[in-house]
């Protein structure tokens, strides 16, 4: 370590990220004294971690590692109950808590509690690992590449689930990863470390992307910073244009009025339920009433929960300037245009949500 110093606010996820060998895992392991602290100190809620006996200290800190490290000889329930048993909880309380935790990590208690780790898939094992770390509801959790051993598809799912969980439980978490994208997705604050245990920058994700400090951080974050920032915001965070919604058979005059009122140049045809059918051409407006004459289909149809980066990707894919945005019922709530996306990039970093708040 080289003068590493930072503060993690309660209830937030602090991600330690950096290339291999930068000392991020070592730093994390110093918090629960798995690695000795030779100089300086670590304070938990104002109390030095050196004051307590290591084993006692660790029982109050959740610990989840990359290889998960489930005990092969204990069932899922047995694994999760490890620390409660150490603390001498009564059997009933342990039982209830185990079931509670398994449900929390989206595992069916009845199905999984008596299984052995060898019988679980990688994703399931990972969840049990998290449940085990949460067993005694510790105020602090240390997680070392907890999703590292999972395949990319399931990893994304687990990350999203974990963020949703964090919204509920609001733990203070020190999270280590080598993947900058994971750091940006998961972190409320990101500590970028470089070789030799040096702290290069410590900021929330949007700030890190907008104002990287120094060459190393710039390179580490990557040349596509702007795109990465678009991953932090969702369609619902943007001020959408009002959509000129028109139905077949509507009076053309009304339709024209709606278009004039909106910033979108063409009317959007919707069905009886408000679902988008396509953009209308001039031919549709020749008569008294609107006819079904489309200039193009409604693609891409965007959802409120989509991240802006994906929305951009969809718009580019369809070579469209605008896309209708629908809510979870499929009804149009507005229109997103490409212009808006570059505008979003200029948002004040303080306004950009991060960590659990940014989760879908």
């Amino acid at each position: 370590m080289d003068g590493l110093s930072l503060e993690v606010p309660a209830g937030e996820i602090c991600v330690l990220v950096g290339p291999s060998g930068c000392g991020k895992t070592t730093a994390m392991r110093m918090v629960n004294r798995m690695t000795d602290i030779t100089a300086g100190d670590i304070l938990l809620d104002g109390h030095s971690v050196r004051e307590r006996r290591p084993a006692e200290l660790r029982r109050e800190i959740g610990y989840a590692i990359q290889q998960i490290g489930l005990f092969p000889h204990l069932s899922v329930a047995g694994n999760v109950a490890t620390v409660p048993r150490l603390l001498g909880w009564p059997k009933e309380r342990i039982r209830t808590r185990v079931d509670e935790l398994l449900e929390l990590v989206s595992l069916d208690p009845h199905e999984t509690r008596d299984r052995y780790p060898a019988q679980l898939s990688g994703g399931q094992r990972q969840r049990v690992g998290v449940a085990r770390a949460l067993a005694v509801d510790p105020p602090l959790m240390l997680m070392d590449e907890p999703f590292g051993a999972i395949d990319p598809i399931n990893r994304e799912r687990l990350q999203n689930e974990f963020l949703r969980l964090q919204r509920e439980i609001r733990k203070t978490i020190v999270f280590v990863t080598h993947d900058i994208d994971e750091a940006i997705k998961m972190g409320d604050r990101i500590a970028v470390m470089q070789q030799g245990g040096k702290l290069a920058q410590y900021s929330p994700p949007a700030e890190l992307l907008m104002y990287p400090e120094g060459r190393f951080v710039e390179d580490f974050v990557g040349a596509d910073r702007a795109l990465k920032r678009l991953a932090l915001q969702r369609v619902r965070d943007v001020d959408l244009w009002k959509a000129p919604l028109v139905r077949v058979g509507e009076p053309v005059a009304e339709a024209r009025a709606k278009v004039a009122d909106s910033e979108v140049p063409y009317p959007l045809l919707v069905d009886g339920d408000g679902r988008p059918l396509g953009w209308l051409s001039e031919k549709a407006m020749l008569g008294e009433r609107v006819e079904r004459e489309l200039r193009s289909n409604a693609e891409p149809v965007l959802e409120l929960d989509d991240v802006l980066r994906d929305a951009l990707s969809d718009l580019l894919q369809e070579e469209a300037q605008y896309g209708p945005v629908v809510d979870h019922r499929g009804q149009v709530t507005g229109v997103l245009s490409i212009e808006m996306l570059s505008h979003a990039l200029r948002t004040d970093p303080d306004q950009v949500p991060h960590g659990a708040d940014a989760a879908a």
Binding site: N32, M34, A55, E56, L57, R58, R59, E60, Y63, I65, Q67, I68, G69, L70, F71, P72, H73, L74, S75, T82, V83, L86, R115, Y116, P117, A118, Q119, L120, S121, G129, R132, A133, L142
Partner: protein, 233 residues
Amino acid sequence: MTSVLAQLEIRERTDSCVADDGFCPDWIADNLDRYVDPFFEHVYLTLVAVAIGFAISFALALVAYRRRWLINPVTQVTGILYTIPSIAAFFLLLPLTGRGKTTALIALVSYVLLIIFRNVLTGLDNVPDEAKDAGRGMGLTDRQLLWRVEVPLAVPEIMAGLRIAVTTTVGLATLAFFAGAGGLGGQIFADITFRSNVVVAGGLAVLLAALLDGLILLVQRGITPWTRAVAAR
């Protein structure tokens, strides 16, 4: 130089089958009780020797697990004890401990030490590192880690060693009569050309070994349910 083959003859040469040194079911049925005491002596020698040997080696292995420098010296010493043939051992001990069960037990125990010591260590060494790291990180003390995680996971290997120890000890205990400790070997030696005798006494020894082996295997299966669990997809 003449050699004496059998010092006693234990049967009367009345029956023609018996007179022919043959395999005679009738004689066996009549004389089964001859083998009862030797059998139980044999069981006693085996179980006591393995129990003592296990206790010593297990303790040694636990100590050597933490203080690695002990592994080599202990292995060398128990290795020598293991290599010395038990017959020789019986008589090397004779001046010191005299004839009887004690001498036999000392020799049998010393044979078992290496096997158990090695297997316990291997079992402990094979515990996955991440399980130990996770255990320590969760707040298990070294002692708790040892007894709640490391030893349970080492059980299959330890049991394997126990099975080997038991079957070989049954075999060696057949020579225990040389030390004056009784056992089925005495019966074999008493009339080595009589087939009935040899088959029964020898057969009982083999049966005992198989029985004890199977028993330990059953116990092992019973206390390690996780090894039976079918692996994940």
